[in-house]
Symmetry: C2
Subunit: 194 residues, 2 copies
DNA sequence: CTATCATTTCAATAAGGACTGAAAAGGATG
DNA sequence: CATCCTTTTCAGTCCTTATTGAAATGATAG
Protein backbone atom coordinates (compact mmCIF):
# COMPACT_ATOMS: atom_id res chain seq x y z
CA UNK A 1 0.00 0.00 0.00
CA UNK A 2 1.45 3.35 -1.00
CA UNK A 3 1.21 6.67 0.82
CA UNK A 4 -1.66 7.95 -1.30
CA UNK A 5 -3.73 4.87 -0.60
CA UNK A 6 -2.94 5.02 3.08
CA UNK A 7 -4.14 8.59 3.28
CA UNK A 8 -7.37 7.61 1.56
CA UNK A 9 -7.85 4.75 3.90
CA UNK A 10 -8.04 2.42 0.94
CA UNK A 11 -6.75 -1.09 1.24
CA UNK A 12 -7.75 -4.71 1.18
CA UNK A 13 -6.96 -5.41 4.80
CA UNK A 14 -9.51 -4.03 7.22
CA UNK A 15 -6.65 -3.13 9.52
CA UNK A 16 -6.51 0.58 8.68
CA UNK A 17 -9.13 2.13 10.92
CA UNK A 18 -8.14 5.76 10.93
CA UNK A 19 -10.58 8.20 12.52
CA UNK A 20 -10.73 10.02 9.20
CA UNK A 21 -11.82 6.95 7.41
CA UNK A 22 -14.26 6.07 10.13
CA UNK A 23 -15.89 9.48 10.00
CA UNK A 24 -16.12 9.32 6.22
CA UNK A 25 -17.63 5.85 6.28
CA UNK A 26 -20.22 6.86 8.82
CA UNK A 27 -21.29 9.73 6.65
CA UNK A 28 -21.26 7.61 3.49
CA UNK A 29 -23.41 4.91 5.00
CA UNK A 30 -25.97 7.38 6.28
CA UNK A 31 -26.07 9.28 3.04
CA UNK A 32 -26.70 6.05 1.18
CA UNK A 33 -29.62 5.20 3.43
CA UNK A 34 -31.15 8.60 2.96
CA UNK A 35 -30.78 8.40 -0.81
CA UNK A 36 -32.65 5.11 -0.80
CA UNK A 37 -35.68 6.61 0.91
CA UNK A 38 -35.72 9.49 -1.58
CA UNK A 39 -35.68 7.30 -4.65
CA UNK A 40 -31.94 7.42 -5.38
CA UNK A 41 -30.25 4.09 -5.37
CA UNK A 42 -28.07 3.41 -2.40
CA UNK A 43 -24.85 2.75 -4.24
CA UNK A 44 -25.08 5.89 -6.31
CA UNK A 45 -25.70 7.92 -3.20
CA UNK A 46 -22.74 6.27 -1.48
CA UNK A 47 -20.39 6.92 -4.36
CA UNK A 48 -21.44 10.50 -4.38
CA UNK A 49 -20.97 10.80 -0.65
CA UNK A 50 -17.51 9.27 -0.95
CA UNK A 51 -16.39 11.69 -3.64
CA UNK A 52 -17.92 14.55 -1.73
CA UNK A 53 -16.29 13.94 1.64
CA UNK A 54 -12.91 12.95 0.24
CA UNK A 55 -12.85 16.23 -1.62
CA UNK A 56 -10.30 14.93 -4.08
CA UNK A 57 -10.52 13.04 -7.37
CA UNK A 58 -10.75 9.26 -7.09
CA UNK A 59 -10.52 6.67 -9.85
CA UNK A 60 -12.84 3.75 -10.49
CA UNK A 61 -10.64 1.32 -8.59
CA UNK A 62 -10.55 3.56 -5.54
CA UNK A 63 -14.32 3.64 -5.50
CA UNK A 64 -14.63 -0.11 -6.05
CA UNK A 65 -12.30 -0.97 -3.23
CA UNK A 66 -13.59 1.55 -0.79
CA UNK A 67 -17.25 0.60 -1.23
CA UNK A 68 -16.80 -3.07 -2.10
CA UNK A 69 -18.66 -2.97 -5.37
CA UNK A 70 -17.99 -4.48 -8.77
CA UNK A 71 -16.34 -2.69 -11.65
CA UNK A 72 -19.54 -2.76 -13.68
CA UNK A 73 -21.55 -1.22 -10.92
CA UNK A 74 -18.96 1.47 -10.29
CA UNK A 75 -18.74 2.30 -13.96
CA UNK A 76 -22.49 2.60 -14.43
CA UNK A 77 -23.09 4.55 -11.27
CA UNK A 78 -20.26 6.97 -11.97
CA UNK A 79 -21.63 7.61 -15.41
CA UNK A 80 -25.10 8.25 -14.00
CA UNK A 81 -23.68 10.74 -11.52
CA UNK A 82 -21.83 12.48 -14.37
CA UNK A 83 -25.07 12.57 -16.34
CA UNK A 84 -26.77 14.24 -13.40
CA UNK A 85 -23.91 16.72 -13.44
CA UNK A 86 -23.00 16.47 -9.77
CA UNK A 87 -19.63 14.83 -10.33
CA UNK A 88 -17.10 15.55 -13.07
CA UNK A 89 -14.54 13.49 -14.96
CA UNK A 90 -10.94 14.46 -14.73
CA UNK A 91 -7.73 13.31 -16.36
CA UNK A 92 -4.39 13.29 -14.60
CA UNK A 93 -1.45 13.76 -16.92
CA UNK A 94 0.78 10.72 -17.14
CA UNK A 95 -2.05 8.50 -15.96
CA UNK A 96 -4.36 6.60 -18.24
CA UNK A 97 -7.08 6.30 -15.66
CA UNK A 98 -10.02 8.63 -15.38
CA UNK A 99 -10.65 10.35 -12.09
CA UNK A 100 -13.91 11.62 -10.69
CA UNK A 101 -14.54 14.60 -8.49
CA UNK A 102 -17.64 15.85 -6.75
CA UNK A 103 -18.84 19.40 -6.99
CA UNK A 104 -17.87 21.14 -3.79
CA UNK A 105 -20.76 23.54 -3.50
CA UNK A 106 -23.75 21.87 -1.90
CA UNK A 107 -26.11 24.60 -3.04
CA UNK A 108 -25.11 24.14 -6.62
CA UNK A 109 -25.45 20.38 -6.38
CA UNK A 110 -28.93 20.54 -4.99
CA UNK A 111 -29.97 23.12 -7.47
CA UNK A 112 -28.87 20.79 -10.26
CA UNK A 113 -30.77 17.92 -8.71
CA UNK A 114 -33.85 20.05 -8.17
CA UNK A 115 -33.82 21.17 -11.79
CA UNK A 116 -33.59 17.65 -13.05
CA UNK A 117 -36.26 16.22 -10.79
CA UNK A 118 -38.60 19.05 -11.54
CA UNK A 119 -38.19 18.43 -15.25
CA UNK A 120 -38.46 14.67 -15.02
CA UNK A 121 -41.04 14.25 -12.32
CA UNK A 122 -43.04 17.37 -11.60
CA UNK A 123 -43.59 18.83 -15.05
CA UNK A 124 -45.20 15.66 -16.40
CA UNK A 125 -47.57 15.50 -13.44
CA UNK A 126 -48.61 19.10 -13.92
CA UNK A 127 -49.20 18.38 -17.58
CA UNK A 128 -51.35 15.39 -16.71
CA UNK A 129 -53.43 17.37 -14.24
CA UNK A 130 -54.15 20.06 -16.81
CA UNK A 131 -55.15 17.37 -19.25
CA UNK A 132 -57.48 15.74 -16.73
CA UNK A 133 -59.09 19.07 -16.01
CA UNK A 134 -59.70 19.60 -19.70
CA UNK A 135 -61.39 16.19 -19.85
CA UNK A 136 -63.93 17.49 -17.33
CA UNK A 137 -64.53 20.91 -18.90
CA UNK A 138 -67.97 22.03 -19.95
CA UNK A 139 -66.65 22.13 -23.48
CA UNK A 140 -65.74 18.44 -23.33
CA UNK A 141 -68.69 17.10 -21.35
CA UNK A 142 -71.55 19.47 -22.10
CA UNK A 143 -73.27 21.62 -19.53
CA UNK A 144 -75.37 19.06 -17.69
CA UNK A 145 -72.63 16.46 -17.26
CA UNK A 146 -70.10 19.09 -16.26
CA UNK A 147 -72.40 20.19 -13.43
CA UNK A 148 -72.87 16.81 -11.86
CA UNK A 149 -71.68 17.04 -8.26
CA UNK A 150 -69.18 14.21 -8.60
CA UNK A 151 -67.63 15.80 -11.66
CA UNK A 152 -67.45 19.15 -9.95
CA UNK A 153 -65.89 17.63 -6.87
CA UNK A 154 -63.15 15.95 -8.88
CA UNK A 155 -62.56 19.08 -10.86
CA UNK A 156 -62.10 21.07 -7.68
CA UNK A 157 -59.63 18.60 -6.30
CA UNK A 158 -57.62 18.70 -9.49
CA UNK A 159 -57.63 22.48 -9.34
CA UNK A 160 -56.35 22.43 -5.78
CA UNK A 161 -53.49 20.15 -6.72
CA UNK A 162 -52.66 22.16 -9.79
CA UNK A 163 -52.41 25.36 -7.82
CA UNK A 164 -50.13 23.69 -5.32
CA UNK A 165 -47.82 22.30 -7.95
CA UNK A 166 -47.76 25.56 -9.83
CA UNK A 167 -46.54 27.39 -6.75
CA UNK A 168 -44.07 24.67 -5.85
CA UNK A 169 -42.75 24.85 -9.38
CA UNK A 170 -42.17 28.55 -9.07
CA UNK A 171 -40.21 28.06 -5.89
CA UNK A 172 -38.08 25.38 -7.52
CA UNK A 173 -37.55 27.68 -10.44
CA UNK A 174 -36.22 30.39 -8.18
CA UNK A 175 -33.98 27.99 -6.37
CA UNK A 176 -32.70 26.60 -9.64
CA UNK A 177 -32.22 29.88 -11.44
CA UNK A 178 -30.16 31.58 -8.77
CA UNK A 179 -27.93 28.98 -7.23
CA UNK A 180 -24.37 29.73 -8.22
CA UNK A 181 -22.25 29.24 -5.15
CA UNK A 182 -23.51 29.99 -1.68
CA UNK A 183 -27.01 30.69 -0.52
CA UNK A 184 -29.63 31.29 -3.13
CA UNK A 185 -31.61 34.47 -3.31
CA UNK A 186 -34.71 32.47 -2.37
CA UNK A 187 -33.03 31.19 0.70
CA UNK A 188 -31.77 34.61 1.70
CA UNK A 189 -35.26 36.00 1.41
CA UNK A 190 -36.59 33.20 3.54
CA UNK A 191 -33.96 33.57 6.18
CA UNK A 192 -34.52 37.29 6.39
CA UNK A 193 -38.28 36.87 6.64
CA UNK A 194 -38.18 34.65 9.71
CA UNK B 1 -74.39 -2.37 -9.95
CA UNK B 2 -76.23 0.25 -7.92
CA UNK B 3 -76.41 3.98 -8.54
CA UNK B 4 -73.66 4.80 -6.05
CA UNK B 5 -71.25 2.40 -7.70
CA UNK B 6 -72.14 3.67 -11.14
CA UNK B 7 -71.36 7.21 -10.11
CA UNK B 8 -68.00 6.09 -8.78
CA UNK B 9 -67.28 4.26 -11.97
CA UNK B 10 -66.75 1.11 -9.95
CA UNK B 11 -67.72 -2.20 -11.39
CA UNK B 12 -66.41 -5.57 -12.47
CA UNK B 13 -67.18 -5.09 -16.16
CA UNK B 14 -64.79 -2.74 -17.92
CA UNK B 15 -67.76 -1.44 -19.89
CA UNK B 16 -68.28 1.75 -17.87
CA UNK B 17 -65.86 4.22 -19.40
CA UNK B 18 -67.22 7.52 -18.20
CA UNK B 19 -65.11 10.60 -18.84
CA UNK B 20 -65.07 11.21 -15.10
CA UNK B 21 -63.61 7.86 -14.44
CA UNK B 22 -61.15 8.21 -17.24
CA UNK B 23 -59.90 11.53 -15.94
CA UNK B 24 -59.58 10.14 -12.44
CA UNK B 25 -57.71 7.08 -13.64
CA UNK B 26 -55.30 9.17 -15.65
CA UNK B 27 -54.50 11.24 -12.61
CA UNK B 28 -54.22 8.19 -10.36
CA UNK B 29 -51.83 6.42 -12.67
CA UNK B 30 -49.58 9.43 -13.00
CA UNK B 31 -49.62 10.13 -9.29
CA UNK B 32 -48.60 6.56 -8.63
CA UNK B 33 -45.65 6.84 -11.00
CA UNK B 34 -44.49 10.03 -9.38
CA UNK B 35 -44.75 8.54 -5.92
CA UNK B 36 -42.55 5.66 -6.98
CA UNK B 37 -39.73 7.97 -8.04
CA UNK B 38 -39.95 9.83 -4.73
CA UNK B 39 -39.68 6.76 -2.57
CA UNK B 40 -43.39 6.22 -1.90
CA UNK B 41 -44.69 2.93 -3.07
CA UNK B 42 -46.85 3.04 -6.14
CA UNK B 43 -49.95 1.46 -4.64
CA UNK B 44 -50.01 3.75 -1.64
CA UNK B 45 -49.69 6.75 -3.89
CA UNK B 46 -52.49 5.45 -6.11
CA UNK B 47 -54.83 4.84 -3.21
CA UNK B 48 -54.19 8.29 -1.96
CA UNK B 49 -54.76 9.77 -5.41
CA UNK B 50 -58.03 7.86 -5.69
CA UNK B 51 -59.35 9.10 -2.36
CA UNK B 52 -58.19 12.60 -3.15
CA UNK B 53 -59.83 12.93 -6.57
CA UNK B 54 -63.04 11.20 -5.64
CA UNK B 55 -63.41 13.63 -2.78
CA UNK B 56 -65.75 11.32 -0.93
CA UNK B 57 -65.24 8.47 1.53
CA UNK B 58 -64.60 5.04 0.00
CA UNK B 59 -64.49 1.68 1.72
CA UNK B 60 -61.85 -1.01 1.38
CA UNK B 61 -63.82 -2.89 -1.24
CA UNK B 62 -64.21 0.21 -3.37
CA UNK B 63 -60.47 0.71 -3.32
CA UNK B 64 -59.74 -2.95 -4.05
CA UNK B 65 -62.02 -3.06 -7.04
CA UNK B 66 -61.07 0.25 -8.46
CA UNK B 67 -57.33 -0.39 -8.32
CA UNK B 68 -57.36 -4.16 -8.72
CA UNK B 69 -55.45 -4.96 -5.58
CA UNK B 70 -55.87 -7.57 -2.89
CA UNK B 71 -57.62 -7.03 0.40
CA UNK B 72 -54.39 -7.43 2.31
CA UNK B 73 -52.62 -4.84 0.25
CA UNK B 74 -55.50 -2.40 0.53
CA UNK B 75 -55.73 -2.88 4.26
CA UNK B 76 -52.03 -2.33 4.86
CA UNK B 77 -51.73 0.61 2.54
CA UNK B 78 -54.78 2.32 3.97
CA UNK B 79 -53.41 1.90 7.44
CA UNK B 80 -50.07 3.37 6.38
CA UNK B 81 -51.82 6.37 4.86
CA UNK B 82 -53.77 6.84 8.09
CA UNK B 83 -50.52 6.63 10.03
CA UNK B 84 -49.08 9.36 7.84
CA UNK B 85 -52.19 11.34 8.67
CA UNK B 86 -53.17 12.24 5.12
CA UNK B 87 -56.32 10.16 5.06
CA UNK B 88 -58.85 9.63 7.82
CA UNK B 89 -61.12 6.80 8.88
CA UNK B 90 -64.84 7.38 8.93
CA UNK B 91 -67.88 5.43 10.03
CA UNK B 92 -71.22 5.61 8.31
CA UNK B 93 -74.17 4.97 10.58
CA UNK B 94 -76.02 1.81 9.73
CA UNK B 95 -72.99 0.42 7.93
CA UNK B 96 -70.41 -1.84 9.53
CA UNK B 97 -67.75 -0.98 7.01
CA UNK B 98 -65.09 1.61 7.56
CA UNK B 99 -64.71 4.40 5.07
CA UNK B 100 -61.64 6.42 4.23
CA UNK B 101 -61.42 10.00 3.16
CA UNK B 102 -58.49 12.08 1.98
CA UNK B 103 -57.69 15.47 3.44
CA UNK B 104 -58.92 18.06 0.99
CA UNK B 105 -56.31 20.72 1.57
CA UNK B 106 -53.19 20.01 -0.45
CA UNK B 107 -51.11 22.44 1.60
CA UNK B 108 -51.99 20.71 4.79
CA UNK B 109 -51.24 17.31 3.30
CA UNK B 110 -47.83 18.30 2.11
CA UNK B 111 -47.03 20.00 5.33
CA UNK B 112 -47.80 16.75 7.13
CA UNK B 113 -45.64 14.79 4.72
CA UNK B 114 -42.83 17.31 5.01
CA UNK B 115 -42.90 17.11 8.79
CA UNK B 116 -42.74 13.36 8.76
CA UNK B 117 -39.97 13.09 6.20
CA UNK B 118 -37.94 15.72 7.95
CA UNK B 119 -38.23 13.82 11.19
CA UNK B 120 -37.55 10.41 9.71
CA UNK B 121 -34.97 11.22 7.08
CA UNK B 122 -33.35 14.59 7.50
CA UNK B 123 -32.91 14.85 11.26
CA UNK B 124 -30.95 11.59 11.49
CA UNK B 125 -28.62 12.69 8.70
CA UNK B 126 -27.98 16.00 10.38
CA UNK B 127 -27.25 14.17 13.58
CA UNK B 128 -24.79 11.89 11.83
CA UNK B 129 -22.99 14.81 10.20
CA UNK B 130 -22.54 16.53 13.54
CA UNK B 131 -21.21 13.31 14.96
CA UNK B 132 -18.75 12.89 12.09
CA UNK B 133 -17.53 16.42 12.56
CA UNK B 134 -16.94 15.75 16.23
CA UNK B 135 -14.87 12.70 15.27
CA UNK B 136 -12.53 15.03 13.39
CA UNK B 137 -12.29 17.76 16.01
CA UNK B 138 -9.00 18.85 17.45
CA UNK B 139 -10.24 17.61 20.78
CA UNK B 140 -10.75 14.11 19.39
CA UNK B 141 -7.71 13.83 17.13
CA UNK B 142 -5.09 16.10 18.68
CA UNK B 143 -3.68 19.17 17.03
CA UNK B 144 -1.34 17.63 14.47
CA UNK B 145 -3.76 15.03 13.15
CA UNK B 146 -6.60 17.53 13.02
CA UNK B 147 -4.49 19.77 10.80
CA UNK B 148 -3.65 17.19 8.17
CA UNK B 149 -4.93 18.50 4.85
CA UNK B 150 -7.08 15.44 4.16
CA UNK B 151 -8.75 15.75 7.55
CA UNK B 152 -9.34 19.44 7.07
CA UNK B 153 -10.76 18.88 3.60
CA UNK B 154 -13.26 16.34 4.88
CA UNK B 155 -14.17 18.53 7.79
CA UNK B 156 -14.89 21.41 5.43
CA UNK B 157 -17.09 19.28 3.26
CA UNK B 158 -19.05 18.10 6.26
CA UNK B 159 -19.48 21.68 7.39
CA UNK B 160 -20.78 22.69 3.99
CA UNK B 161 -23.35 19.93 4.07
CA UNK B 162 -24.35 20.69 7.62
CA UNK B 163 -24.98 24.33 6.83
CA UNK B 164 -27.11 23.36 3.87
CA UNK B 165 -29.20 20.93 5.83
CA UNK B 166 -29.59 23.32 8.70
CA UNK B 167 -31.05 25.96 6.41
CA UNK B 168 -33.23 23.45 4.60
CA UNK B 169 -34.50 22.29 7.93
CA UNK B 170 -35.46 25.80 8.91
CA UNK B 171 -37.44 26.22 5.73
CA UNK B 172 -39.22 22.93 6.29
CA UNK B 173 -39.96 24.02 9.82
CA UNK B 174 -41.61 27.19 8.60
CA UNK B 175 -43.61 25.34 6.04
CA UNK B 176 -44.66 22.79 8.61
CA UNK B 177 -45.47 25.19 11.41
CA UNK B 178 -47.75 27.45 9.45
CA UNK B 179 -49.71 25.32 7.06
CA UNK B 180 -53.29 25.23 8.22
CA UNK B 181 -55.43 25.61 5.14
CA UNK B 182 -54.32 27.65 2.17
CA UNK B 183 -50.94 29.04 1.34
CA UNK B 184 -48.31 29.01 4.02
CA UNK B 185 -46.71 32.15 5.28
CA UNK B 186 -43.41 30.93 3.78
CA UNK B 187 -45.02 30.59 0.42
CA UNK B 188 -46.65 33.98 0.62
CA UNK B 189 -43.33 35.58 1.44
CA UNK B 190 -41.75 33.81 -1.49
CA UNK B 191 -44.45 34.75 -3.92
CA UNK B 192 -44.33 38.37 -2.87
CA UNK B 193 -40.56 38.49 -3.20
CA UNK B 194 -40.50 37.37 -6.84
C1' DC C 1 -0.06 -2.46 -35.91
C1' DT C 2 0.12 -4.75 -31.55
C1' DA C 3 0.21 -4.92 -26.83
C1' DT C 4 -1.50 -3.15 -22.80
C1' DC C 5 -4.41 -1.06 -19.84
C1' DA C 6 -9.19 1.12 -18.95
C1' DT C 7 -13.91 1.38 -19.58
C1' DT C 8 -18.39 -0.06 -21.00
C1' DT C 9 -21.89 -3.25 -21.79
C1' DC C 10 -25.14 -6.73 -20.78
C1' DA C 11 -26.90 -11.44 -19.86
C1' DA C 12 -27.26 -13.91 -15.77
C1' DT C 13 -28.12 -13.79 -11.00
C1' DA C 14 -28.98 -12.04 -6.46
C1' DA C 15 -31.30 -9.14 -3.37
C1' DG C 16 -35.00 -6.51 -1.85
C1' DG C 17 -39.80 -4.97 -1.87
C1' DA C 18 -44.42 -5.48 -2.91
C1' DC C 19 -48.58 -8.34 -3.21
C1' DT C 20 -51.60 -12.10 -2.43
C1' DG C 21 -54.79 -15.05 -0.15
C1' DA C 22 -56.27 -17.53 3.41
C1' DA C 23 -56.46 -18.01 8.23
C1' DA C 24 -56.96 -15.54 12.54
C1' DA C 25 -58.66 -11.92 15.11
C1' DG C 26 -61.95 -8.31 16.06
C1' DG C 27 -66.40 -6.53 16.78
C1' DA C 28 -71.41 -5.87 16.10
C1' DT C 29 -76.02 -7.96 16.21
C1' DG C 30 -79.87 -10.57 17.61
C1' DC D 1 -72.91 -16.63 23.08
C1' DA D 2 -73.35 -17.94 18.28
C1' DT D 3 -73.41 -15.82 13.94
C1' DC D 4 -72.15 -12.82 10.58
C1' DC D 5 -69.44 -9.40 8.64
C1' DT D 6 -65.10 -6.84 8.53
C1' DT D 7 -60.36 -6.06 9.20
C1' DT D 8 -55.69 -7.51 10.10
C1' DT D 9 -51.82 -10.34 9.73
C1' DC D 10 -48.12 -12.77 7.60
C1' DA D 11 -45.79 -16.76 5.24
C1' DG D 12 -45.20 -17.63 0.71
C1' DT D 13 -44.80 -15.96 -3.91
C1' DC D 14 -44.03 -12.84 -7.46
C1' DC D 15 -41.82 -8.95 -9.62
C1' DT D 16 -38.76 -5.29 -9.97
C1' DT D 17 -34.45 -3.46 -9.45
C1' DA D 18 -29.55 -3.75 -8.36
C1' DT D 19 -25.35 -6.08 -8.95
C1' DT D 20 -21.93 -8.98 -10.79
C1' DG D 21 -18.37 -10.65 -13.87
C1' DA D 22 -16.68 -11.60 -18.04
C1' DA D 23 -16.46 -10.45 -22.83
C1' DA D 24 -16.41 -6.59 -26.04
C1' DT D 25 -15.04 -2.17 -26.97
C1' DG D 26 -12.12 1.81 -26.69
C1' DA D 27 -7.90 4.30 -26.01
C1' DT D 28 -2.87 5.04 -25.47
C1' DA D 29 1.86 4.01 -26.07
C1' DG D 30 5.65 1.92 -28.15
Amino acid sequence: MNAQQASLGIGTTGATASPLREAQDTFIRRWGEMGATWGINRTMAEIHALLYVCAEPLCTDDVMERLNISRGNASMSLRALCDWGIIRRQHKRGDRKEYFQSLGDVWEMFSIIAAERKRREMDPVLETIKQCRRMLDESSLGKSAARRPDVQATRQRLEGMEEFMEVTNKIFQQFIGNARSGLTRVVKVLLKAF
